[in-house]
Symmetry: C2
Subunit: 315 residues, 2 copies
DNA sequence: CTGTTAGCGCCTTCAA
DNA sequence: TTGAAGGCGCTAACAG
């Protein structure tokens, strides 16, 4: 704010030139150990820290990144953001947050604004409907989460592995009539891939497939649970924990306790409310870490855009 | 990034001097209508936007604010942040997010970092244990939420009103044995004030008071529900919806449906999982809007720190 | 190894 | 009503 010190002050106080101070600041080589120590001492003593804006102006980089979540109250995205933040802070990046509310148009508006702001990079939690051309200009400075788009860097969950793991577990527990509650195929990852993994497991093991793909909302899980429960059903796999929450509410209300629920997604809320549900952790925390690391690597030119898949683990 | 235009370019392209462009940019008076229009035309045509860092360097302000939430997955804080973000963006502020995890020490570290970053202002979701002296230096540029601290600006919920509203409603429904599940008094607002409002209502209406104050966590609500349920109890008031979630899990498991649950907090999750619970909305959304507005007003010198109380409304 | 010099993009005098 | 000049704090040549 007011009278902060500048490298000029530090230079004067330690009896060296501005550029020497700058060199110390940036850990550049070519400064004698003695000088460096002296300058560093003065810096600490006065709690000096360089002006971000001045650096940004020279370096062409503000060290600001944006995280666009679909919704702030998405439990799974929260888990990823939680691990992402410390990574950004450690590397000196300011992470600013925005909500897309699942609206492709809002994503466009946000990206437009970020472009004008000359931001360094973006982590975008993907969803259905985002046009590729919206993203293209960001190819080198955007990492998409939970979804892959041609040419863009992405961190995805192992959709097939997650479902297969659940099915195997249930199968090992002698379940032979396993129903499925999921998301429409218009959603490629959470929808199509998970559903297909379910179908393919059923086929391979000659199990009857009973599925419904209502959508992502809790209420949809609640409303559609009935439609996939046959008298034979002994287990129900849900594509997301949100759906599972809806389904379990239905089961509870109907006093049905003969059906084993299983779901992708391992949030604290679920663990508390329904510890009996079998869950695979898609690796939200790890995804967050990797996304942040990948974005920084791209920004700093240490990596090309690349696709990362996080392995799922049984919780 | 690369070859962005600068006011110099705009100046050249519109045949005026840099300072004139600057004047137009800042809506300063003393520019002829014709010149202004011409310059603005060129700006729009090229999608020009001034460099934030250069402005920051001159203006001493980065137009960056921080929002320190206790936890990213706090449902109530999310609701407030959700309304806060658009306000900041509209006014050209970049909101960066941090988690305090209810740790006073983390708050100190974050504030220290923000101080070095020379940030403009902070919205802090308050909790027990934050030392006043930590905050003092921020007096003019911090707004605390959900808690008031001497001299600091704050946006608080009407703790007493919220509880009283719930009690009145239950009383009107002929409940005469109302228990209470809350938070220890070390937490002044959610703990002490709400509990005292409960006690005072009981006293006034000659009702027996049965209360326990385990804490904020869902599990604590679950574990302590039993201790406040007597054979006569017909209603249970919870200080937060998290506690209510825990308590309702307990009631469900015990198959108790003779107890009407009521709680402060009106989150979408609660509305879905337990629409039967009577809830007051403490006004999270409004609190977020007001907090952002108040912070901006303080930063820009248009307001002194002041305490704001949001009225609670029956959901 | 170290200091000097020249900008980065913008805003702010100060003259014209 | 306008333009030219100077400087914000920092980094990147270029000299010593």
């Amino acid at each position: 704010m007011q009278n902060r010190l500048t490298i000029k002050d530090i230079a004067r106080l330690s009896g060296v030139g501005k550029s020497t101070v700058s060199r110390v600041l940036n850990n550049e080589s070519g400064v004698s150990e003695r000088t460096r120590e002296r300058v560093e001492a003065v810096m600490n003593q006065h709690g000096f820290s360089p002006s971000r804006s001045a650096r940004a102006m020279r370096g062409q980089s503000d060290k600001v990144v944006a995280i666009i979540v679909s919704r702030l109250d998405s439990l799974s995205e929260n888990l990823a953001v939680q691990t992402m933040l410390p990574v950004f802070y450690e590397q000196g990046y300011d992470p600013i947050m925005m909500e897309s509310q699942f609206s492709p148009q809002l994503v466009e508006e946000h990206l437009g604004m970020l472009r004008r702001r000359n931001i360094d990079g973006v982590v975008l939690f993907g969803f259905t409907g985002i046009r590729e051309e919206t993203l293209r200009p960001w190819r080198s400075s955007l990492v998409m989460l939970a979804r892959d788009a041609g040419g863009m860097a992405s961190v995805c969950y192992d959709d097939e592995g997650a479902i297969t793991t659940l099915m195997q577990r249930l199968y090992a527990q002698d379940h032979r009539n396993i129903s499925y509650l999921g998301v429409p195929h218009s959603d490629v990852t959470t929808g199509k891939r998970r559903h297909e993994a379910y179908l393919s497991f059923c086929k391979k093991h000659a199990l009857p497939a009973v599925a419904s793909l209502p959508g992502l909302a809790m209420k949809q899980g609640y409303d559609q649970a009935a439609s996939v429960l046959t008298p034979q059903t002994t287990a129900l796999v849900c594509a997301t924990d949100t759906l599972a929450l809806g389904a379990s509410k239905y089961l509870q209300e109907k006093r049905i306790d003969s059906v084993q629920l299983a779901s992708v997604g391992n949030t604290p809320l679920m663990k508390f409310l329904h510890p009996e549900i079998i869950a695979v952790d898609p690796g939200y925390a790890e995804a967050g870490r990797q996304a942040a690391a990948q974005l920084i690597a791209q920004i700093t030119g240490r990596s090309e855009p690349r696709q990362i898949v996080i392995p799922a683990t049984l919780a």
